[in-house]
Symmetry: D3
Subunit: 157 residues, 6 copies
Amino acid sequence: MKYILSREDEVVIGVGSAQYSHTFENPLTAGERIEVIYRTLKASGVDLGRCFITPIPDLGEHMLWVSRVRSFCPSFQTVYSNNPLVARLFSEAGYQIRPVPLFEREKYMATEIRKKIAKGDDWRSLVHPAAYEYLVSIGLQERIRYILADDHSSGGG
Amino acid sequence: MKYILSREDEVVIGVGSAQYSHTFENPLTAGERIEVIYRTLKASGVDLGRCFITPIPDLGEHMLWVSRVRSFCPSFQTVYSNNPLVARLFSEAGYQIRPVPLFEREKYMATEIRKKIAKGDDWRSLVHPAAYEYLVSIGLQERIRYILADDHSSGGG
Amino acid sequence: MKYILSREDEVVIGVGSAQYSHTFENPLTAGERIEVIYRTLKASGVDLGRCFITPIPDLGEHMLWVSRVRSFCPSFQTVYSNNPLVARLFSEAGYQIRPVPLFEREKYMATEIRKKIAKGDDWRSLVHPAAYEYLVSIGLQERIRYILADDHSSGGG
Amino acid sequence: MKYILSREDEVVIGVGSAQYSHTFENPLTAGERIEVIYRTLKASGVDLGRCFITPIPDLGEHMLWVSRVRSFCPSFQTVYSNNPLVARLFSEAGYQIRPVPLFEREKYMATEIRKKIAKGDDWRSLVHPAAYEYLVSIGLQERIRYILADDHSSGGG
Amino acid sequence: MKYILSREDEVVIGVGSAQYSHTFENPLTAGERIEVIYRTLKASGVDLGRCFITPIPDLGEHMLWVSRVRSFCPSFQTVYSNNPLVARLFSEAGYQIRPVPLFEREKYMATEIRKKIAKGDDWRSLVHPAAYEYLVSIGLQERIRYILADDHSSGGG
Amino acid sequence: MKYILSREDEVVIGVGSAQYSHTFENPLTAGERIEVIYRTLKASGVDLGRCFITPIPDLGEHMLWVSRVRSFCPSFQTVYSNNPLVARLFSEAGYQIRPVPLFEREKYMATEIRKKIAKGDDWRSLVHPAAYEYLVSIGLQERIRYILADDHSSGGG
């Protein structure tokens, strides 16, 4: 965020797959994801008056996705993403794409952090203190353990 | 059912993923699943005047699922389930969850029974005679074989 | 129900538009509609072991509706309905349609009863005592008044 | 917003019916609605670090709506709304509802302002200067005229 | 069609609202609408090797509609339509719009023809003989009468 | 197509999963799939006046699929397919199913051709020259490489 805000006046953070939660890929609701980003940015001294954080529900149809993003977001001119499909879809729609430099990529991978939470390993140092405090307060650890138990469950459902 | 009816006045059986059928996971339509449960309960002497059997279509959004269940079912106070995600979602919504004792779990596993049907193995002894008679009458064996052939098919579709 | 049960062994009651509630057309959830039918049939001495009550969510595509009904209901051979579109769709699909004799039609019209409830008029004599008791217990009168206020509201929403 | 922020630490503004646009009821996309609210609040000196503005797509099923709102929004405790159905649904779900005082209601009615825009009447004084500037920049007047022409159109579509 | 084919090499006919049928607005399925267009063009000597007829299901979200049309149709450069909203949406997406000259507009209005069919008036001279023959063969008159009876029905449904 | 047209007057080609694109399974939009079939048939001298090519969006509910196909296609009597599930669903709905003879099956497998395209291997000889020219013109190779990069991506999304 600091990198992009150093180059742009305002930034829209799109929270994708917004309708999903309680899965290993997306354990948090869109609202919880918005809140953890907001608490972290606020605690980091980022000017929230220059940031929009917007949930974007998936449609499951790639050809509609760029229009969906445009419909749910304030107007934007440049797309920052390292994801090849995102880059391809926005580039087919005529947008300019820019990569985002990753910061200590091996250490800060979302999937690895979720795995550590699931196993009960220490993950406090891997997220911002404001994020840690918030995620513990909503019981993220317990929720992830239930989600994983479900995958290995032989029960009903 | 007999276990729950010994503890409660009435019971609602929710038939989940109600919109699906003709898959290995859910070979039967919701209506066929309702009918096989009903025929089995009737033949077992369970008082059908104390039972509701209700199809509940999935939404694919876990945060909405408890409200969906509440919307499609007569009112209920206690949830019986061994499924961790079901337990978690209802418990986040303030419901009391109770486990169901499993009866000869190794023998009566739905997935294993479907595999036997697919292979042409004997499965008559694994379901109630009333269920067996009904499932044969609707051609379950042939349907499961077609579904599995589809998974290995090199044809169109 | 008594008329149909005098001619058929079993009957499936389809509760249509099952996903809707809190509208003037469908103030009750599907689960509440199931419950009021069930309480009324039980209090009327109808054999519930011969009745299925099944919610059927609308799709909004008439060409799919007969298949949707077949998918959510136990198997059936004859369709009882006075609705012309229902008759047309099932008849295009090869089903036999039979009309249902209406009982004191001017008195027992659902729309009129909902209007009386909305206005605060007496409606006790227009439904079965078991239905009245149940509907009052869930606060139907207050709910309908809120729904109608919404239609005339100049507020947010 | 100033009224609510004088009573609460933070406020979430839910932009409902978020998937709709280009209708007389909702001529703007959710993103455009977010942007006009944000530009107005910023120009009015409201602390944006205490505000969330979140699009919430409709589901069309009232029983799921409170869960949908909870899923898309940061956590909230009190609901401010003058809409009777919103009040009813949140109150059935156990939330506390508070009304919002309306400011010169006869003058500032959204429907009336849209009608003026459609007719080409002056509407500049009816919205904040920052909102006016933004709405003109995206061609709102022309869009509304096309939408209304469509309603009276005898052409294809 | 002859007008457009005199100006373009190939033409794509988009059959909109493709998922609907059995309503007064869209009594025919998309497949039936395709067939009546095809039979008429063939009987009129139009070169079908230069025509695509493609069903396009509605999404109900105007911002996604142009992308949906692009996704379901072979590539196209120019949009022929007299509909203001279609014109507006394609023009916001950067397409060139051209009007279609209407031929004896008062006589050949789809709504008026459907009304004549509903009333049992003569409509044979208002459609191409090939269309008339096809529409009679699928029982359009009877279907429209059932649909209208449904609108005035006091029965179930 | 030549095989079927030698036995039938007209043929409807259903382009399934029509809403999907930009995946490894369905890299092309429905419109692009229609166009590549049409260009190939035209270049092969097939009489396009005897062919319909119709996109059919999936519903994800197998029990509704035959009705969906019937709704989107001109009327048909016989179903040509080698797919076991297609055969099963149409046969449960009372249709006659016929297999299609496969032509040099080992050589012309869609999945293998897509894999060759992804790896940059030569695939020119595996499709009709008219199809090759069209697919290259829309950048299929680059699109497939982006889609595969996405599957292995560690970036955002």
